[in-house]
């Protein structure tokens, strides 16, 4: 019967079907596009999903942040509330994110020691955390919309890795990037090495990884790590303009372009996880974490 309908009617029917299909997940209990959490909040501003990190002192990523990021990931998997772009930013004055919550990590390892568990058991617990964080970061990485990290201040370790999930990074002049993990006897464990290698190649990875040094936003711009360098306090404003521009394009074309231009380095991500877990079991890590947490030295932590 349907084939006998005029072509305009068939086209309209197809569009209606598509529209209903697209809307169904949101009607059937998908997560709301508005959330106010302890570590982060998000809301739709026009066609942009704005995600704000706001856990002091500098958005260190621990269990609370992970749980709230998982809510965000669920929303992204369910269509991002219809958003056409997403901005990740921080309202903490110190910066975007200083990395993993080392105090929580050290406390977890300490607890295992008190209970007489082996370091390998503790490392197994860390594996669960790492698997969850990778699932969230991969979802952000592959979200079929344009994602933008608006950065300032510290963008270190896990925070750097979160920014690397985004398609575009816009940083103000106060931003600094670093992978300080080797100071703790570790490598980045949230997918940072494969994602940075995907974007810039292994030369930059080795420089940051093997020296632990930090890069200024200016230098990061020169090596192509950020797409725009802006004045202090301007990154969110500029990110909103970029999001508006990205939302002008056909969403299916954007999604297709992104799939083509930004493949997920799955194998390397898995190998990074294994390496991180292996290193976590080393006594070097426990000693370095204890030194970091217990130190009241005002000077930069260096081994």
């Amino acid at each position: 019967m349907r084939s006998r309908l005029p072509w305009q009617a068939r086209l309209l029917a197809r569009r209606l079907e598509g529209s209903i299909r697209e809307r169904l997940p949101r009607l059937e209990g998908s997560p709301p596009a508005h959330f106010e959490g302890e570590a982060l909040s998000y809301r739709l501003e026009g066609e942009t999903l704005e995600v704000c990190l706001h856990r002091g002192p500098c958005n260190e990523i621990g269990t609370t942040t992970l749980e709230e990021l998982e809510q965000l990931a669920a929303l992204l998997r369910a269509g991002a509330g219809g958003a056409r772009a997403m901005i990740l930013h921080s309202t903490e004055p110190k910066g975007f994110c200083a990395g993993a919550d080392l105090r929580e990590l050290q406390a977890g390892l300490g607890l295992h020691r008190e209970r007489g568990s082996s370091r390998w058991v503790a490392a197994g617990q860390v594996r669960g955390f790492i698997d969850r964080i990778h699932a969230v970061f991969d979802t952000i990485d592959m979200a079929p919309i344009t994602t933008i990290a608006a950065l300032h201040g510290f963008c270190f370790g896990g925070g750097f890795e979160l920014a690397l999930c985004c398609d575009l990074r816009i940083a103000d002049k106060s931003t600094r990037f670093a992978f300080p993990e080797l100071r703790l006897g570790l490598v980045p464990g949230f997918g940072g090495i494969p994602r940075l290698a995907r974007d810039l190649g292994n030369g930059v990875v080795r420089d940051l990884l093997l020296t632990g040094r930090s890069l200024s936003a200016k230098r990061a711009h020169e090596v192509g790590l950020i797409s725009q360098l802006v004045g202090r306090g301007e990154s969110l404003r500029v990110a909103r303009l970029v999001a508006e521009q990205a939302a002008r394009f056909d969403p299916r074309t954007t999604a297709a372009a992104k799939r083509f231009a930004k493949p997920l380095p799955r194998e390397a991500l898995e190998r990074e996880k294994d390496l991180f877990i292996e290193l976590m079991a080393s006594p070097v890590v426990e000693a370095a974490l204890r030194k970091f947490v217990e130190s009241d030295d005002l000077r930069p932590y260096l081994p």
Binding site: P57, G153, R176, T211, S214, S216, L298, R299, P300, L302
Partner: protein
């Protein structure tokens, strides 16, 4: 720019960043104590210095450096 000018400029920048009186800073004093800053804030100062002097200063070169004089010597080598 000679070393004295470099140190003066450096202390001026540090005083401005952390709202201190530049006159009260001593080139050979411990800048962590004089400025009352921690490692986070030291990185902010590093960013200011790199921007102002248009140099790149790897963090590891700052290991053990805690005076404005020491900072000035590192910057001087990269100008």
């Amino acid at each position: 720019m000679n070393k004295t000018e470099l140190i003066d400029r450096l202390m001026e920048l540090a005083a401005k960043r952390f709202d201190k009186d530049a006159e009260a800073l001593d080139p050979q004093g411990d800048f962590f104590e004089l400025l009352g800053i921690d490692s986070f804030q030291a990185m902010e100062l590093l960013t200011d210095l790199e921007e102002a002097f248009d140099v790149e200063i790897p963090d590891y070169e700052l290991q053990g450096v805690n005076t404005f004089l020491g900072l000035a010597e590192i910057i001087e080598r990269r100008l």
